[in-house]
């Protein structure tokens, strides 16, 4: 059988060895020596990766062989960097005589284990992605509910100005990450049903075929929702992600360029509105235009990040030898600049290339998929990766205004890690369906064929 599972296993082992080497390098160059729990932590990672591989081998045997190893390697890189920042934080605390903070790497590892369990759960329970289509509107409503959940009075929490978290006891979670998946399923299910009328019926205005006013409804609603997120939760990144996702899925579903124009102008309008209304958006934009003027205040983060990247140079300072902890939020929003400092542009390009490969595999899955819903779902899920990487890497390097989004797989944070692994599981499920060479063993859809009522012919 040429289902490439052994290739996948080999790549996973490769990723794991890279992980051990990276961890050792951090230990050696910071003078910590071999990390104390090296074999427990790397063993745990190996166990999680092996479990995921075995589930893929037996439940999605024909799935793409590259996506799982790439996701694992990115997660491992995140773990290495978080461990490295833990070491730096402990050092700093020791110097200042403060108590040593609890290391983040173990909680991230726990989240990885939970993400792995969910990954396996999705692949085992969901035998056919088309089953998701039946719950299109349920998922849509659930997604919307999760989006507004942080605004709820008791459990909603505001962290650093953005109301994105819910907190129950000591457990906090970012529901927008899960909402992202649910809404992608909703968009795919909705667009696959309505794309004919969205694509075909249109009126000509100024030489551009524009859709009818009533067909514009959904895009306007999506736009209003993302503006709502911006207004009430003060989160630029999530708002941008949802709007971009919806416009690109509309474009893919209908193959009409006019949606891109409409989306672009709505985006310009929304951006102008946000800029003229909100102080924090204005602050972000002015920092983006000239970070050096605000180097000590609002631009501190981005300036430190740029210094870090400059310190990294071409080959990087080496893991454990830079100063990535000088950037605030180095383990979440700014993990790319931390990696950039220690691995240099050589390492960053490898990581970006890995993201590129991951997204390419997702889009290829969409192309080879044989049902409309799977195509749109795979394309939409890959686009969430693409948008997130673009927005956050662009923000950290000063290409676009900085918005708070997590870097898929790398960033410290449970909700994001879990959501991205569930997305990967869905992509592998679709990929397994579309690459399976012999489907005769699969029982055909047993649902009854509906009979067309016969009209009396004159």
């Amino acid at each position: 059988m040429s289902n490439r599972r052994n290739v996948e296993l080999a790549l996973l082992v490769f990723a794991w060895v890279l992980g051990i080497l990276g961890t050792l390098q951090v230990g050696w160059s910071t003078g910590e020596g071999t990390p104390p729990r090296l074999w427990i932590t790397t063993g745990a990672v190996a166990l999680i990766a092996l479990a995921m591989h075995l589930v893929v081998r037996f439940r999605a045997a024909y799935a793409d062989p590259i996506m799982l190893p790439v996701g694992t390697l990115l997660t491992i890189f995140g773990l290495i960097m978080i461990y490295r920042l833990d070491v730096a934080d402990a050092r700093r605390a020791e110097l200042n005589g403060a108590p040593i903070p609890t290391p983040d790497v173990y909680s991230q590892l726990t989240w990885f284990a939970i993400a792995g369990i969910l990954f396996c759960g999705v692949l085992i329970l969901l035998r056919d992605h088309r089953r998701l289509q039946r719950y299109t509107f349920t998922f849509g409503l659930l997604g919307l509910f999760l989006m507004v959940l942080p605004l709820a009075p008791v459990i909603g929490t505001t962290v650093n100005g953005a109301t994105l978290w819910i907190r129950v006891g000591t457990f906090s979670f970012q529901p927008a990450e899960i909402a992202k998946i649910l809404l992608t399923i909703f968009f795919a299910g909705y667009l696959v049903k309505t794309r004919d009328s969205l694509a075909l019926v249109r009126t000509k205005v100024l030489g551009v075929g524009l859709p009818r006013a009533k067909d514009l409804g959904p895009i306007v609603i999506a736009w209003a929702i993302s503006l709502g997120v911006l207004v009430f939760q003060r989160d630029l990144g999530t708002s941008l992600l949802f709007f971009g996702l919806f416009v690109s899925m509309l474009y893919i579903a209908t193959q009409r360029r006019s949606w891109l124009f409409i989306g672009f102008f709505l985006f310009l309008g929304g951006a102008y509105f946000a800029y003229s209304t909100f102080g924090h958006v204005q602050a972000r934009v002015s920092v983006w235009i000239d970070p050096w003027t605000y180097a000590d205040t609002t631009g501190y983060q981005i300036v430190q990040s740029i210094y870090g990247l400059a310190n990294g140079g071409i080959l990087g300072a080496g893991l454990g030898q830079g100063f990535p902890d000088l950037v605030p939020f180095a383990s979440t929003d700014f993990i790319i600049s931390a990696l950039g400092e220690e691995l240099g542009i050589t390492g960053i390009f490898a990581i970006l290339l890995l993201y590129g490969i991951l997204i390419e595999r997702g889009l290829r899955t969409a192309i080879t998929c044989r049902d409309g819903f799977g195509q749109l779902l795979a394309a939409g899920l890959s686009i969430t990766f693409a948008l997130q990487v673009f927005v956050i890497v662009g923000g950290v390097t000063g290409l676009v205004p900085l918005t708070g989004l997590t870097t898929p797989f790398l960033s410290y944070g449970g909700s994001s890690l879990i959501a991205n692994w569930v997305i990967l599981a869905l992509l592998l499920r679709i990929s397994d369906r579309s690459r399976r060479p012999d489907l005769s063993k699969v029982s055909p859809d047993d649902a009854m064929t509906q009979v067309v009522p016969r009209l009396k012919q004159s």
């Binding site: 059988m1 040429s2 490439r4 290739v7 790549l11 490769f14 990723a15 060895v17 890279l18 080497l21 990276g22 050792l24 390098q25 050696w28 160059s29 024909y62 793409d64 062989p65 590259i66 190893p69 790439v70 390697l73 088309r130 696959v192 004919d196 193959q255 080959l315 990087g316 080496g318 893991l319 030898q321 691995l343 240099g344 050589t346 390492g347 490898a350 290339l353 890995l354 490969i357 390419e360 595999r361 080879t368 044989r370 049902d371 409309g372 819903f373 369906r433 690459r435 060479p437 012999d438 489907l439 005769s440 699969v442 055909p444 859809d445 649902a447 064929t449 509906q450 009979v451 067309v452």
Partner: protein, 163 residues
């Protein structure tokens, strides 16, 4: 750890990282050149690892046999825009997941119809579907030649052979 050893470890790490990227790209390249839809076993896949690119098959066959029409296009229905190259192989249509074109439509049967090549033209055969297979306005009962451009209706979908 000496400075030199650390530098070596650092460079080795970067080299290995790029090694991983290259390995994935190699896997990817093989996947693109040998699409997974082929029912090939591991052996044939290894054989095709050789450098010579195979001559593209479909156009060769159609030129030789002068089959009229070389692609099947879905012109209406949920799958509108789907294009399937006709390369002499049989095409099955229906809701069953092993069909060449999966018509996800409540009005299509699991195994609705098949299209195959015979004596230089394409022939449609209804496989005992519930709602029938229609060429233009007439329901077909026997294997019927499908001319280029004629609308073939199955459930809510319309298909057409194009040149």
């Amino acid at each position: 750890m000496s400075e030199l050893a650390l530098t070596l470890v650092r460079l080795a790490f970067l080299a290995l990282l790029w090694g991983f990227v290259l390995a994935t790209v190699l896997v990817l390249r093989r996947d693109i050149r040998q699409p997974a839809d082929a029912t090939s076993s591991g052996k044939t896949e290894k054989k095709s690892k050789g450098r010579q690119p195979k001559p593209p098959k479909p156009p060769k066959i159609s030129r030789k046999q002068k089959v009229r029409g070389n692609r099947l296009v879905v012109i209406d229905g949920p799958l509108v825009g789907t294009v399937i190259a006709l390369d002499g192989k049989q095409i099955t249509l229906g809701r069953a997941p092993d069909s060449t074109i999966i018509i996800d439509d409540d009005y299509a049967s699991s195994r609705h119809a098949r299209i195959y090549e015979s004596e230089g033209s394409w022939v449609v055969e209804d496989l005992g579907s519930t709602n029938g297979t229609w060429i233009d306005r007439s329901r077909i009962t026997t294997p019927t030649v499908l001319p280029v451009g004629a609308p073939l209706r199955i459930g809510r979908s319309t298909l057409q052979i194009q040149n």
